[in-house]
């Protein structure tokens, strides 16, 4: 395969081991090639050319044909209960073909057919899955095999703790490979707009889309003639704060903004129920938050680098404060809920309100702390080669899967190659986007030369 940058074509689409949007589009329209007016040879040729364009075209054809093996690995899952109960002689009972079984039915009353067929043909390219570059791509550490290959060649990859510079290294079962986390974040993260900016092009596009959607909606409303009032601030803020629980990928600046607003509201609310000392604590706490927030806003507009650092220090300051705050809140909640010695308002409704406030305030502090911790683990840093705060690149989720022959730890960007991929009834472990028929034709092509 020529070493060209243009590996994604639209006219004569080829599928690649890559997360590119071109590849996704090609994947959405690929079909099993029609065989009606082709000779068997033509079918096989076409099939093998399709397969090889996906299964590592960087490996030369001669090398691959030497690697090809017609004996394909498979396993059969055994049930230890069955093995304990029967010794195998029951297979010869009845009229020599085993006792007739009643057809079993599932919950919906459909007949359960016997075990599924083992898709041997899908295992044709299993020797290539042993390659280091392919394994790095399969472990989701690189966005394409080409990129994985580059990481290996450039010395970012270690095998069993030693630098390995050969992308064609055949992993042995039990081998651990590590990729430099910075490279992984670069490969899988969103791209920067400019070298000296932290934002990603994804983020910019998202904002632009939001703006146009808003504009369209406003125009629509005007056309209809219904004047819709701007919703009050509080209503728009609360849902975003609620979403924090589900950890939706959001920009942390907006997250912090929403939290600040909500925290302010609730702190104002619960102020009268707190002791003087706590009130003071809360006030300083809020002040800190506000100063951070203003810095954040400043950073959004201009003079980025200086404010980034001050933002960091402010964050650190708050982080040292929050646990104490959180603890005091917890104490307060516990006090209000449990201790009968404390003089509580005799009105049950009022009492209820106090506990509720404390509960809400505590929850809020927790939320805030979680957001801050997350922001700290994923800070804005313009020196990084990828957009910060780090977000996964577009279209990654459609390709995100980890085959069972790898065990991956994403935190340290390392993985262990457990065993060679195998086929089992109904399931093949070699990821390949092609139809079973195409795989069979490709297998036959290579069989011819053996």
């Amino acid at each position: 395969m020529p070493r060209t940058k243009k590996i994604h074509a639209l006219k004569r689409p080829k599928l690649r081991q890559s997360w590119s949007k071109f590849n996704l589009y090609n994947l959405s329209r690929v079909t099993a090639p029609p065989a009606a007016n082709k000779t068997f040879f033509q079918q096989k040729w076409l099939a093998k050319s399709m397969l090889r364009s996906y299964h590592n075209p960087d490996v030369r054809e001669g090398t691959w044909t030497r690697m090809f093996d017609r004996r394909l690995p498979a396993v059969v899952p055994m049930d230890h209960r069955y093995l304990a109960k029967y010794d195998g002689s029951e297979m010869a009972s009845g009229r020599g073909m085993g006792v007739d079984k009643k057809p079993q039915r599932d919950a919906r009353g459909n007949e359960i057919r016997g075990p599924e067929k083992t898709p041997y043909m899908h295992m044709t390219f299993h020797p290539l899955e042993r390659r280091l570059d392919t394994a790095i791509f399969r472990a989701l550490f690189a966005s394409s095999t080409r990129e994985a290959r580059q990481f290996v060649v450039h010395g970012w990859v270690k095998v069993n703790g030693r630098k390995m510079i050969y992308p064609g290294y055949q992993l042995n079962p039990g081998d651990m490979f590590q990729v430099d986390p910075e490279r992984v974040l670069y490969a899988t993260g969103a791209r920067k707009v400019k070298k000296d900016k932290a934002e990603s092009n994804q983020e910019l596009r998202r904002r632009a889309e939001e703006r146009t959607a808003k504009k369209e909606k406003a125009e629509e409303d005007r056309a209809v003639g219904a004047v819709v009032e701007e919703e009050p601030e509080n209503n728009t803020v609360e849902p975003t704060a609620e979403e924090d629980d589900t950890t939706t990928p959001q920009t942390y600046s907006t997250e912090l903004k929403a939290l600040l607003k909500r925290a302010t509201a609730i702190l104002d609310d619960s102020k009268r129920d707190l002791s003087g000392k706590r009130q003071q604590e809360l006030r300083t706490f809020r002040k800190d938050l506000k100063s951070t927030f203003s810095k954040l806003r400043g950073m959004d507009e201009s003079d980025l680098q200086e404010t980034t650092e001050s933002f960091e220090t402010a964050l650190a300051e708050i982080l040292t404060k929050v646990p104490a705050e959180d603890l005091s809140k917890q104490e307060q909640a516990a006090d209000a809920a449990a201790s009968p010695s404390e003089p509580l308002p005799s009105n049950p409704q009022l009492q209820n309100k106090t506990t509720l406030d404390a509960h809400r305030a505590r929850k809020d502090a927790e939320l805030l702390q979680a957001a801050l911790v997350r922001a700290r683990a994923n800070p804005i840093d313009t020196t990084k080669p990828y957009a910060t705060p780090w977000t996964p690149r577009d279209y990654m989720s459609a390709f995100a899967f980890i085959p069972r022959y790898l065990e991956v730890n994403q935190n340290i960007c390392s993985a262990v190659y457990l065993r060679h991929p195998v086929a089992r009834p109904g399931l093949a472990e070699v990821p390949t986007p092609f139809h079973a028929e195409t795989m069979a034709l490709g297998f036959n092509w290579y069989l011819r030369r053996r």
């Binding site: 996704l24 899952p77 055994m78 290294y169 577009d394 390709f399 899967f401 994403q410 457990l418 399931l427």
Partner: protein
Amino acid sequence: MKRLRRDMQAWLNGPGKVFREPLPGSTNYMAAYDKQGKLLRTKRNQGEEGPEEDAVPLEKEPEIRKQEEEDGLDEQEMQKRYEQREFIRQRKAERDARGGLPRERPFDMRPYPLNQNFRSQPVLSEDLREVIYQQVAVNGVDVSTVSAAFSVDTRRVAAVVRLKTIEKQWIEENKPLAKPYQDAVMAMLPQTPYRPNIPGKMIPHETINDLPVHPKTRQQIFYPVSESRQFTREDAAKAFDEKLLPADERIAHPELIAIEKDTLAGLSREERFKRQQERDRVAAEAKAEQEEKRRKWEEKTQRVVPGRRWDFKFQDFSAEKVGKTGRARNAIGVRYGMPHEDRKRGMVKIPTSVE
């Protein structure tokens, strides 16, 4: 050419837009959508997953327990009911995390729509990895026992422990972890959860007793036997090859069969426990014996000379054992007068193993 580009843009902004960002609380593979970019599983009726039962909030648990005690329920029944409630609670939490979407079906897990035989299979969740690490590295439980308990492959258990150990080391060294990457990737993948509150409903991660298809068993053979003969798996293995072991001994956890056989024999709990202990003792002894044998052999054949930085190990080797060409695979050393082959065309110099 322009038309092709336009078509692609139209697809990316139309049906393909759903793939741009991950679907919260769910996987986001191509086979889960139709051609118009509509999620297939929203079309099916919601009743399939069972009716939405009311989940009892966790705060009410003590109250319910009190009520049950008053009603005079026994401990087992109470535990069973508690597990049921916990199960419903967790299912509701999962559904809420997905934003009310139905759960993925197996055929929604296919990243490649044409390939019916490839599915994205669940990975171990972060909690489960942590528990496995704790069990093996901290509590010192046997790897194969942990493997059988969580239904996770032995090799995977070992790998999890190995990787977790490095992770802990990094944390100790204050080396930055790729935490945002981990969160994002785990949110996109199907996971095997760890649910300690529902012991009865343990979700197996994978099949642990996989029998590799032996090349000798790939052929069909015609092997006449008398009708009266009890022809077992052992005999069948012999029919394929003299040295082939029966399936019972070739699987990863043959000890599970022994345990199950005891249960089927109707032995009492104490008796079963005693027999299991006996088996464990025998296995440990055999292992120790083998280790001793290996040590003795090493002592006999290897001489270790400690050096300044490395120890030099000397081992006897026969000069005759180098094959016809003197270049047998396991041959040692350099043959005098024999040129190196590594500059020859087609000679691969990539290492075949590391350490």
